[in-house]
Amino acid sequence: MIVGELKALSDIKSMIKGCRKVLVVGCGGCVTVCQSGGLQEAETLARLLALDSPDMTVESLAVPRQCEWEFLEQVCPVIGGYEIVVSTACGIGVQAMNEYFRDFQTVPALNTRFLGMPVRHGLFEERCQACGDCMLHLTGGICPVARCSKNLMNGPCGGSQNGKCEISREIDCAWQLIYDRLKELNQLERLLVLQPPKDWSQSRDGGLRRMAREDVMLDDRE
C-alpha cells in the first residue's frame, strides 16, 4: 500500500489561510488502511481545522479511491460551495483532484511516505521503490533496492553489523536478511553471482513512466 502521514496541523492551516469554506476529501484506499486519510481521519481533520476559526466552515467527505476519475464524479455536486479542497489522500489523489477540478485548488494534508506495509499494528515499513525491474526472485524475496540504504546489488557493505544497518541500529541490514533467507532456501550460491549494473531507466530515472494496456483500452466511441 501507499503509506501516508498527516502533516503538521499548522502546515495545513497555512495552506488554507484566508479561506472561509473548506472541504476535506478523504480516500477509501491505502490511506484508510494506514489510518491517516480515510473518512474518519478526514472528519477529524475538518473538526481540528474549524477549531479556533469561527469564520471558517469546514466539511468533509470521502470517496472510495481518489486516484480514479469515476469516483471523483461523486464530489461534483458538492464542491461548488467551497473555496479550497484539502485532500487526505496520497500525492496521486491530490493530483487527480487538481486535474479533475480545475476551478479549485486541492492542497495536500498528508506527506506520502512510501510503498510499504504494516509490519505490526501501527508500524509501517517500506518494501518497494517501484524500480520497474523486479529482482525479488534473486534475493529471497527481500528487496535490496527499497531496503538497503545504499541499494547495493552484490551483498552487504562494510557497515553491516549484528544484523543492523550502519545508518541506524533500528534498521535491519537488508543484505543480512537476504543472506539468512537464501540460506534458508538453500540458495546461498546466488550471492556469488556478480550482479551487473541495474537498468535504472525503468525506474524514475527514465522520466515519467507510463504503462499502456491496449488489450483493456476502451474504444473512444464507447
Binding site: S149, G155, G158, E166, Y179, P197
Partner: protein, 307 residues
C-alpha cells in the same frame, strides 16, 4: 601486464608494502595537502586520498591526488559510489588517468547521513563491485560500461576494500572473492584491532586461494586515547575494538608512545599472517606519527628503483 604503479611494482617484487592515508582538507587549501605530503614523503609506497570520507565535503580526491603527485608521491585515489552515477564515475576515471593517477580504490562510500549534508540525495547507481568491473573493462577491454569503445585506455592498478569485522562474517570472504573476480588487484582492510577475528578471515581467504590473486594490505590505525577507542567500540559500525586495547590506552601515561607501540606490535603480528602483503596506515588527522611507526616497524626505507 603492469600498470606503471609503484605500489603494484612493490607488491610484484615481493616487498611488504606500506600505504598511508592523506585526508584532503575541508577547503581549497593546497598548502594543507602539500604539507602532509612533505611530512610523509618516503614513508610509504603510495598514499591513499580519501573521497569525501564520512560524507563530509572536502577537496576532491582526484585534485588532492594530483597535488600529492606534484610533490613526487604516488597517490591512490578513492572513488565512492555515493556521489556520482556511472557517467560521472567513468568520466572522472578518465580524468584521473589523464592526470597520471595510477591507482584507484573502489568503495561503496559511507552513507550521507553520517556527514555534514544529511539532506543530500545519494546516488549508488553502481555498487563498489560493479565499479571495479567497470574500471577493469575500461582498462583491459577498452570498453565503456555501455559497450562503446574507448581509444586510450586508463592504465590503473585497481583496489578495493573489505571489512572482516562486518557481518555476516562467512560472507565477507565471499564478497572479497566477488571483488577479485570483478577485477580487484589489491584490497585494503578495515583497521585490524581484533586479531581473533582477522586471523580466521585470513584463513578463509587463504583456503579459497584468494591471496594468490589479490594483495592484502591490512589496515592499522594509531588510536589517540582510551576515550577514542571506547567511542569507536560503541559507536562505529563495522569496527571491533577489544577491551584490552582500550584498557591499555586508558592506563598509558605517555599516550603518543603507547599508541605507536600498539601499532608497531600490530604490524609485527600482521606480517606473520600468511597472505598479508602489506599494511595500510590510517592515521586519521594524526599523520605526524606515521614516519615513526614505519621506522619502528622496520619498514623504512621504502624500496626504490624497482624498474
Amino acid at each position: 601486464m603492469m600498470t606503471g604503479s609503484n605500489l603494484e611494482r612493490v607488491l610484484q617484487t615481493g616487498h611488504f608494502a606500506v600505504t598511508a592515508e592523506i585526508g584532503p582538507p575541508k577547503s581549497c587549501n593546497a598548502a594543507f595537502v602539500n604539507k602532509k605530503a612533505e611530512l610523509l614523503r618516503g614513508y610509504a609506497d603510495a598514499f591513499n586520498i580519501t573521497d569525501n570520507q564520512t560524507a563530509i565535503v572536502r577537496m576532491s580526491s582526484i585534485a588532492a591526488g594530483v597535488l600529492v603527485k606534484e610533490q613526487g608521491l604516488e597517490p591512490v585515489i578513492q572513488m565512492t559510489c555515493r556521489d556520482r552515477n556511472r557517467i560521472g564515475l567513468q568520466s572522472d576515471l578518465l580524468g584521473a588517468a589523464a592526470l597520471g593517477i595510477k591507482n584507484v580504490l573502489c568503495l561503496t562510500g559511507d552513507h550521507q547521513s553520517f556527514g555534514n549534508h544529511p539532506q543530500a540525495k545519494n546516488v549508488f547507481d553502481l555498487d563498489s563491485i560493479q565499479l571495479i568491473k567497470t574500471i577493469k573493462d575500461m582498462r583491459d577491454e577498452g570498453r565503456f560500461l555501455c559497450g562503446e569503445e574507448l581509444k586510450v585506455k586508463p592504465d590503473v592498478f585497481i583496489g578495493c576494500v573489505e571489512n572482516p569485522f562486518a557481518d555476516p562474517f562467512e560472507f565477507r570472504a565471499l564478497r572479497l572473492r566477488k571483488k577479485v573476480e570483478a577485477g580487484a588487484q589489491f584490497v585494503q582492510t578495515q583497521c585490524v584491532l581484533e586479531m581473533k577475528r582477522f586471523r580466521p578471515f585470513m584463513d578463509l581467504i587463504n583456503e579459497q586461494g584468494l591471496t594468490d590473486r589479490v594483495a592484502v594490505l591490512a589496515g592499522v590505525m594509531p588510536i589517540k586515547s582510551g576515550r577514542m577507542a571506547r567511542y569507536m567500540q560503541k559507536n562505529v559500525a563495522g569496527m571491533m575494538v577489544p577491551d584490552e586495547l582500550c584498557e591499555r590506552l586508558e592506563a598509558a601515561t605517555d599516550l603518543r608512545e603507547e599508541a605507536i607501540n600498539i601499532v608497531v606490535e600490530q604490524i609485527a603480528q600482521l606480517r606473520e599472517i600468511p597472505g598479508v602483503r602489506g599494511v595500510h596506515i590510517m592515521a586519521v588527522a594524526w599523520e605526524e606519527v606515521v614516519p615513526e611507526i614505519v621506522r619502528r616497524a622496520g619498514l623504512y626505507p621504502r624500496p626504490t628503483n624497482l624498474d
